[in-house]
Symmetry: C2
Subunit: 133 residues, 2 copies
Amino acid sequence: MHPSEAEFANEAFYMAFNRRDVAAMEALWSARHEAVCLHPGWPALIGREAIMDSWRSIFANPDQPPVTFHSASPCRMGDGMVAVVCYEVVAGSTMVATNLFIEEDGQPKLVLHQSGICARPPPMAEETSLDVN
Amino acid sequence: MHPSEAEFANEAFYMAFNRRDVAAMEALWSARHEAVCLHPGWPALIGREAIMDSWRSIFANPDQPPVTFHSASPCRMGDGMVAVVCYEVVAGSTMVATNLFIEEDGQPKLVLHQSGICARPPPMAEETSLDVN
């Protein structure tokens, strides 16, 4: 997997989030590996079923604010794995997030998402515009 | 890598932390892959040099409290990669952490450590005793 493919999948992840698109989120997450998802403040969710339940719950919340991200850095982590580190901005708060992608059938698939409050974020170089229309 | 090897390396990581052992920490982190370290609240540290500088800084802080961990769960994430999710307890606060290990020369090496506040930790089944003497 080229790092740019992981960056593209990273953007697709945040678009799926803002569009509250369960099908897109299901397609983005690995179906073959044991995935882990750590939403800010939540206990760890391990396994596809628990993770998809969490997205359905988040998407069903009318008060869930949209997310933007900036400063995405892809890091190669072994054969066919790329971690994208980026900063999420949600309702004025900045989180630092890791999204780890593994290649499955030539496609980058999420096996890990972890996001947590970042008290000292770097300056925002450019914010990625996520078209949700 | 067997998941139990990653669990053992995970325990070695927290022992190195409590012993303020820079050499042990250097041996635990990957020298071949681009590693990522996200301490609670910090911006992302990418690359071995920035990560080792952070450990030296943390170990030099006399006010750094020790850490214990509990409920470690190893998750296989592809060929030779295991993520260990666990809960860290530091000065009465609970963090949820992911420690991602990749196999190098038959040894599990850290490529990712991310720790952040967990507002709703699970009950502590058993706390791992870390002998720092």
